[in-house]
């Protein structure tokens, strides 16, 4: 093991920033990160033992005890659940003879849940040894179990099990007309870099991750920093449940994304770019590496790009299963080989980002759009959309509709139009922007896709009238509690309390004051959390509570208080061990204490 680790660490140039990639290799080799490996890595990278342990324990895909040789993870996103994930999981577990979360006694296979895998248009989905399994059904599960029990290597499994379709159903402004390789770089230099920044400004392009900060402004701030070592980072940590457009963009439009990064680098004066690719998209890794190599060959990357004097190259870093790393400062921490804990802002990444240097972090789609704007100009882009939201938005549509997939619309399009296109009738509501976004009811379908009305990073989940709102809210609340990074108390404790209170009410233990108590927790988590995760974690409750207050009230019992857990059940162990079953050995769920 020592030799293996020594060679892995050497292969990454003893760079602490490569810690994630190093641990990924060790996890793959030994199915966990052994303590001896942690010590050796810390020594070789000259970083603290606690930093390595912290990182191993922080990320969902790293383990300190061995996983199975086949590590199966099933996506627990609401859309997977709507496609029958829970029944399938139970079947998988029984068939494989392993508990969810556990490893089979023979060490061959382990099974667990994971957060949204970005395959919501082709679920129920999962991962086996990091590779995507799509459109799972009982027959497929049978076949997979057979392959596992027969010891068939994953790379020998039929390729259709791993088939990931783009489902590009409605290309628009950007997706209809991809630019040719080098066109944006040529155009940017031909026009002049300051002039190209002016075109990006003129285009009105705002960040496509959801927050909507003006791209040109971000680039300008970065380029005006006195420090000249600067970085361009592409945020491909698409973790918001229900979002999968970056998966498609990186699969089919990666050249244009890299081109956008190169133009950004030229404008801000960066020599290095990094793509932070979410661990769930491991299957795209090699393809993207090949593409980067191809671009170097075509002089679109490397020294003196296209003879224009620009030096720039891009590397790819893989995440390891942490939603929080989609937050730009947590992403930078992760790129530096640390736990994905959001930094205090300010300073913002434009002045102090990767390695403390000025850094532009943009979403995949932002770079895609920027490249097109560099070629076609700001007016072309600004000619579409609304006053405050220029251009188009690429949506990942999933849930209860006939045609889930990728759709591109000019901003200002109504939700009803989108629902008509994807074949959604009988609509109860739509979750726009994922769990951290907004739930709108079927009374609001004339609202518009726009920063000034309904903003989204791309997630668009449709629910039909058979769906139970509480199951949706419960799934989202559990998601946030699971993904909280644990750094600040309002979020770490608050999301856990939120989950507990939501469970209490939805499981039928709610009483008079419980909805008020729920609202109080919501306000606390929302107002006091350190970053966007906590600040939005209460959105599922708040947006449904606002629209369906009567549904919440109906869940409450007409008593002043009831415990949120089975009180008598909590005595069971003691009863059994003391061999008792007398009246005093039992407790009533509801006391005589209430009015």
């Amino acid at each position: 093991m020592q030799d293996f680790i020594a060679s892995v660490v050497a292969g990454h140039g003893y760079q602490p920033t490569r810690l994630m990639m190093i641990l990924r290799a060790i996890q793959e080799q030994y199915l966990h990160i052994p303590d001896a490996a942690i010590a050796q890595v810390a020594r070789l990278l000259a970083i603290s033992l606690t930093q390595v342990i912290g990182v191993v324990e922080f990320y969902h895909f790293f383990h300190r005890t061995p996983r199975g040789r086949y590590d199966v993870l099933i996506s627990d996103s609401i859309t997977d659940r709507m496609l029958g994930k829970q029944e399938l999981m139970a079947y998988f577990s029984e068939k494989l003879g392993v508990a969810v979360g556990g490893v089979r006694v023979d060490g061959r296979v382990s099974l667990d849940n994971t957060s949204c895998t970005g395959l919501c248009d082709q679920g129920p989905a999962g991962l086996v040894n990091g590779l995507p399994l799509t459109r799972l059904d009982q027959a497929r599960v049978d076949a997979i179990c057979e392959a596992i029990n027969a010891g068939k290597a994953v790379n020998e499994w039929p390729s259709e099990w791993f088939a990931v379709a783009d489902n590009l159903l409605k290309p628009g402004l950007l997706l209809n007309a991809p630019i040719s390789g080098g066109a944006a770089i040529q155009a940017a230099y031909h026009r002049g870099l300051p002039e190209t920044l002016a075109e990006v400004d003129q285009s009105g392009l705002r960040g496509r991750g959801g927050a909507g900060f003006k791209t040109a402004m971000k680039w300008r701030f970065c380029s005006e920093e006195p420090e000249t070592e600067r970085y361009v980072v592409c945020n491909a940590d698409e973790g918001e449940p229900g979002t999968f457009k970056d998966r498609v963009l990186l699969n089919s439009y990666a050249h244009q994304v890299f081109e956008g990064m190169t133009v950004a680098a030229a404008i801000i004066g960066a020599k290095r770019g990094l793509v932070y690719l979410r661990g769930e998209y491991l299957f795209l890794h090699q393809k993207l590496l090949d593409m980067l190599a191809q671009r170097r060959q075509s002089h679109l990357l490397g020294n003196n790009i296209l003879g224009l004097g620009q030096d720039f190259d891009i590397e790819i870093c893989l995440g390891a299963g942490a939603y929080i790393c989609g937050e730009e400062s947590a992403l930078i921490e992760s790129l530096e080989g640390r736990m994905g804990i959001p930094r205090n802002r300010p300073p913002y990444p434009v002045s102090s980002g990767y390695l403390g240097k000025p850094t532009v972090v943009n979403n995949v789609e932002t770079f895609l759009a920027a490249a097109a704007i560099a070629v076609k100009g700001g007016d072309w882009f600004a000619g579409h959309g609304t006053d405050k939201s220029k251009g188009s938005k690429i949506l990942s549509i999933c849930g209860d509709c006939q045609r889930p997939g990728i759709y591109e619309y000019p901003f200002g399009t109504t939700i009803q139009t989108i629902l008509d296109d994807c074949g959604a009738d009988d609509v109860l509501g739509v979750q726009i922007g994922g769990p951290s976004g907004t739930f709108i009811s079927n009374q609001e379908l004339n609202r518009k896709l726009a920063f000034e009305d309904l903003a989204t990073g791309g997630s668009f989940i449709v629910f039909n009238n058979q769906r139970d709102i509480f199951k949706i809210v419960q799934n989202f609340s559990h998601f946030f509690a699971h993904e909280s990074c644990g750094f600040c108390t309002p979020c770490r404790v608050g999301t856990a309390l939120l989950k507990k209170q939501v469970d209490k009410i939805f499981d039928g233990h709610g009483s008079a004051g419980d909805v008020v108590a729920l609202e109080e927790i919501c306000q606390l988590v929302k107002s006091y959390s350190h970053c966007g995760l906590g600040q939005t974690a209460a959105n599922p409750v708040l947006s449904t509570l606002q629209r369906y207050p009567e549904l919440y009230q109906e869940k409450l019992k007409k008593i002043s208080y009831e415990p949120g857990f089975d009180l008598d059940g909590a005595l069971e162990t003691a009863r059994r061990m003391a061999h008792r079953n007398d009246a005093a050995a039992h407790l009533a769920q509801i006391g005589e204490d209430h009015d």
Partner: protein, 179 residues
């Protein structure tokens, strides 16, 4: 409220440290005694709580007896207060929540070093342990929470004098900071 305010206190899964801290109001106890009368409390040895204005609960809920006591307080006290870290969060006794109850009991009564005549105590008089220690607000509705381990004497004083005077109790920052 005619006559004196009736106050009841008890310690569930606690250490009586909060009660000791309460006593640290020292000579103000005389002033307090002008205003209140104690019902069930370690100060009086009254066994069961009668109708009261204020109930102060120290400690979390670790067994069935705690549940009955807490419910008795809730039934009789107009205002019920969680006093101290254990009542609010489970506190030190809740450290056992990370160990299965089965293992706790086995260690204490069956396999532990020095255990003679190993057996799990079993008698109808003995309360059974809950599998987890719970904060009291998970069992009954609680009206106020006094933080601290223990809350200082001044916290008790400020809280009770506010409440008795009919004011909404306010704890200034100096009383709830611990560094």
């Amino acid at each position: 409220m005619g006559g004196k305010i009736r106050v009841a206190t008890t310690s569930l899964a606690g250490c009586f440290g909060c009660h000791m801290s309460f006593l640290d109001i020292d000579e103000r106890m005389i002033e307090l005694a002008q205003l209140v009368e104690f019902d069930r409390s370690p100060f009086t040895d009254i066994e069961h709580c009668g109708p009261c204005d204020i109930g102060l609960i120290e400690g979390g809920v670790c067994n069935s007896e705690n549940v009955h006591t807490l419910r008795e307080f809730r039934k009789n006290c107009k205002t019920l207060v969680a006093v101290g870290a254990c009542a609010i969060n489970g506190g030190l006794p809740a450290l056992r929540n990370f160990i299965p109850l089965e293992e706790c009991l086995a260690e204490a009564y069956l396999d532990g070093i020095g255990v003679e005549n190993p057996q799990i105590p079993s008698d109808v008089e003995l309360p059974l342990l809950l599998d987890k220690v719970h904060p009291i607000h998970e069992i009954v509705k609680i009206d106020y929470f006094l933080p601290g381990c223990p809350p200082s004497a001044d916290v008790f004083w400020k809280f009770l004098t506010d409440l008795i005077a009919g004011r909404e109790p306010q704890l200034p920052y100096e009383l709830v900071r611990y560094d």
